[in-house]
Amino acid sequence: MKGITEKDKQDELIKPMTERARKLKDTLWWKHTRGGEYVEKGVKAGIERARYMTQSFKETDGEEWVIRRAKALANVLDNITIFIKDHELLVGDHAEKPNLMPIYQESNYFLNIDLLNSPYCPDEKEEFREIAEWWKPHTLQAKAEKYISEEEKELINANTSFESPGYVTGYSSPIPAYETVLEDGLEGIIARIEKKLKEAQDEFLHQNPWNGPEAMTLLKKMDEWKAMIIADKAVMRWTKRYARLARYMAEEEKDSKRKEELLMMADICNHAPSKPCRGFRDAVQTHWFTYLVVQSLERYGSGMACKMDSMWYPYYKRSIEKKEQPMTREEMVELVVLHRLKVSEHGVIKSRLYREIHAGANDLFIITIGGVNPDGSTACTDLTNIILEAAATAMTTEPSLGLRWHENMPELTARYAHECIRRGLGFPSIKNDEVAINSLVEGFGGTGGQPVREARRWCLALCMSPGRSGRHGGQRTRWALSSYTAKLLELALSDGYDYSYTDMQLGPHTGDPTKFKTFDDLLQAYKVQYQYVHAALTRSRDLTRYLEAKFYQSPFLSSLDDECVERGLDGIEWEEYCIPWFNVIDDIVVADSLTAVKKLVFEEKKYTMEQLVKALRANWEGYEDMRLDFWNAPKWGNDDDYADEVTANLFRYHSLELKQHTNIFGSYNKPLPQHVALYWSLGPRIGATPNGRRHGEVLDDGGNSPYIGCDKKGPTAVLNSCSKIDYSLQKAVLLNQKLDHNAMNSDKGFALWYAYMKTWHRLGIDHVQFNVCDHEQLKDAQKHPEKYPDLIVRVAGYSARFVDLSRYAQDTIIARTEQELAG
């Protein structure tokens, strides 16, 4: 990598958007949600996916389920309305119109009921009602409910101590093996599968001597291979429909330049994803088509997991060197901007719960870049820089970028990252490459770790969680669920009874808290509550996985994976490299609370447990002096060894306690402390806490981020506190940092931030992301939202447009920047 030239000076790094991109951006249908509702009027569900999938399922009664899934997908792809928008160069959508989103009627009936009674119901309401009726017994949710108790159902519906499981939410997050499609094309993949199928058929029909145990496994494999072929061929037919549409539009087109573009698009769609990609345009289009099927049409998968710069690089190289599909660097930046706009318009119909959790966003689209190659050399290239540049050019919240920061990070790539951050995008979110690689190499028990060369291919499955990418072995569905630990502490302080929100016995009886004699008594009660919830979560996730393998197969996704093809396995059934986790939500509220109780009750004996329990039940009303004492007790994030020790220990317990549960593939889980937007939405569900927080107030905003208003010693003290956590015991840990807007934008802004980042890396901290907001600007944006359509803030694992957030959420973000000024 060459050094920084004068030309690279910060303001010159980023060019304005092209006219084409500007026009497309101005007419986008944003699918963001606010307060649990879609912000833009007219955004709703489209009927077509549900219609064609149901039509097919009715016709295939009696066939193997995996074949039915493949045929249903094929019926959708053959019949769904397609369109190409003016100015587009990158085409493809998952619904019949840009304002619509497909329905996943087969995952859970709650969502169907919610949809029927919401403004987002498809225009064909009666048709959808029939579809929902037909699916009710076939949904994953209905199938799962046969195995669980009424009591557990109530806990799940309460959604107050833990997140509802996948069989209720249908939530998934795969890391698809895009590389096989880019490199071999679907034709190449199909040829491989057909060969396997032929061999298996021959083997089954002609085996002599007959070997039953071996031969009988072939039946299931043959079904899987057949399903893969049906799905893959349908995808090729669907993309060729786009080629025909583009050709047809070209014939009608008067403008000669646009005509040429449409013919080029027809050529690309005819080629991609059927054949190996020739150059950069093929690669971007192939990736997008594949993404649409895997994560929107075959089933819903959250995120946009891929190691984008590495994956696109060979094709970038051919195009920039003018060998195939020649392109200039500027054209590439524009194409990546167009890709960002495609993602920005991409939406998901989801339940109210997820509309709340993902406030200000639509879904969690995270792309991974940077880091090292399998041989340990840097994977940062000019394409990495192009991807960052396109983000700073487009100024859209989605997709978010995750940058793998490694030893000897190229300074130019760091500069592009700094450009995005100082402009307030809130990303790239930065992950410590070595920490993630070590974690994957070590493995989580069960299926064991991965060779270091493979681990170095990692990308983020969702906001924070590293998983393997590449031709085989990536995650196929969601591994995570979330527990709400502040509630668990509340339960430990109330014998398991939830007096503040549900009025239910949410946890086991752990004894009268006023009788706790030592700090360990309290900790023990907390651990029992923690164990109870995580046993339930592990069980429900295993149940989900079991049912997904029977009724929610993904033959297209599976066909991309070399190993699934080789073994005739659906991805869901395969143990892959099992590296599961639980999102441990509001852990810093727990840490600060435990610190305060330890000090004020058990060490200084200034208050008794009885007084504490009374004050908490009263929501601190009438106990203001006492509340202030607890609020002013030592807090995490100030490089204070007392508070940091309690917190680091809590992180350790959280990990060790999880090791006691073993999942379907023999692995244990690691904690992943992070918060999405739960730190607002859980506020009302969690009563007063001993850190001095009142019922309803927000929780901590992520992982090891200090509680709002409690980090009084600035960013270096926060990093020092964070360095005291043993990250090898955690899946990942989210850290939100706010940096001074003026310093970041000064002449020395980059140099300072670069030094800060190097220290962060040296301290071995897992993650960091930044909010760089001008306080006055945020206040003005609250008053005049129309002036700030592009003002972006970091929420938790993702960024959001400030104007899309609820007043409450906006206020907490402003409070966070106020702290910055005071500090």
């Binding site: 202030l628 600035g714 990093l719 002449d747 030094a755």
Partner: protein, 314 residues
């Protein structure tokens, strides 16, 4: 026995007072009395009491518990309290009983070890940013033995040291301090000794002589000039300054112009000094208003910044 001065704060992650990321140590006590001082809480070597009216819940406990009867309601409405700073003997009883930290102690007595421990916590940041520690105040020269001891310890830890000072002390003291100081941030307020004395209470002879000597022993020096309207923002002052700086034996690194700002006004009020503050309500100076000085100094080959140095490297 080492005389231990009070410290108001050890502020970490500072980026405006010397190169890189730094920790700043604010020592109480200063020989000068600048009416615009941005850190009024550090002027006096004694402990002070802040009253944060916005945090006060009007419980009246400070009034009840003050042995001197120095605290009363500001008005019959009982919306705020008033401390009679003359009567107050700094027993700090009021701070003990205040439940909301509306009353705050200004000035802690910290041992050398305590200060060094706190500063060393950010050593990794100093190393990656070429930063370090800055002694500020007040004036570190007001507590020479303590400052020298601190600087010695920091140099033993290979930490870059800067000293922000008025330069008003015996040369012997400054000379010893210079042995352990990598960078001086040295104030020149005004070249005219009469005006200097009139505004600040002392004339500038000692300050200017000391600077000459510091230059002679090749200390690294940045000159800081707070640009105060009606005090030193005239051409003649800067003409004299150019002559003076050009006559130094070794060139200084740069002049940092610090345009007048009023952000300390709240601190004056919290200290009960609101009515004495001469710059109450005066508008902030814009960067553009001092551009002419920068142009003038640079025309005379003196590197100049507005707002001082932010960041990494010299």
């Amino acid at each position: 026995m080492l005389k231990v001065p009070l410290i108001t704060e050890i502020q970490r992650y500072c980026v405006n007072d010397g190169p890189g990321i730094r920790s700043l140590i604010f020592l109480k006590g200063c020989a000068l009395d600048c009416p615009w001082c941005h850190n009024p809480e550090t002027k006096s070597p004694e402990v002070d009491i802040y009253y944060h009216e916005d945090k006060c819940q009007q419980c009246g406990r400070c009034i009840e518990n003050c042995p001197q009867g120095a605290i009363s309601w500001e008005s019959p409405k009982k919306e705020a309290i008033l401390i009679d700073r003359e009567k107050c003997n700094k027993c700090l009883k009021c701070i003990e009983v205040c439940p909301t930290n509306a009353l705050e102690r200004v000035g802690q007595s910290l041992t050398i070890n305590q200060v060094v421990d706190e500063v060393l916590r950010d050593k990794a940041f100093y190393e990656t940013s070429n930063g370090g520690v800055t002694l500020s105040g007040g004036d570190p020269l007001f507590s020479p033995e303590y400052s020298i001891e601190l600087l010695k310890r920091f140099k033993a830890e290979l930490i870059h040291t800067a000293v922000e000072t008025s330069g008003h002390s015996k040369w012997e003291i400054l000379k010893e301090i210079a042995e352990y100081t990598d960078l001086f941030l040295y104030d020149i307020k005004c070249m005219d000794p009469t005006i200097h004395k009139k505004f600040i209470g002392v004339d500038n002879k000692l300050i200017l002589d000391n600077l000459k000597k510091l230059s002679a022993i090749k200390a690294n020096i940045r000159i800081r000039v707070p640009v105060i309207p009606g005090f030193n923002d005239n051409k003649e002052n800067f003409e004299l300054m150019v002559d003076y700086l050009q006559a130094l034996e070794n060139p200084i690194i740069a002049v940092d112009l610090l345009p007048f700002h009023n952000s300390a006004e709240k601190k004056y009020i919290q200290l009960g000094l609101g009515s004495n503050y001469a710059y109450k309500g005066k508008p902030f100076m814009e960067k553009e208003e001092v551009e002419w000085i920068k142009d003038f100094l640079e025309k005379n080959n003196i590197p100049t910044t507005v707002g001082g140095l932010v960041g990494v490297g010299k």
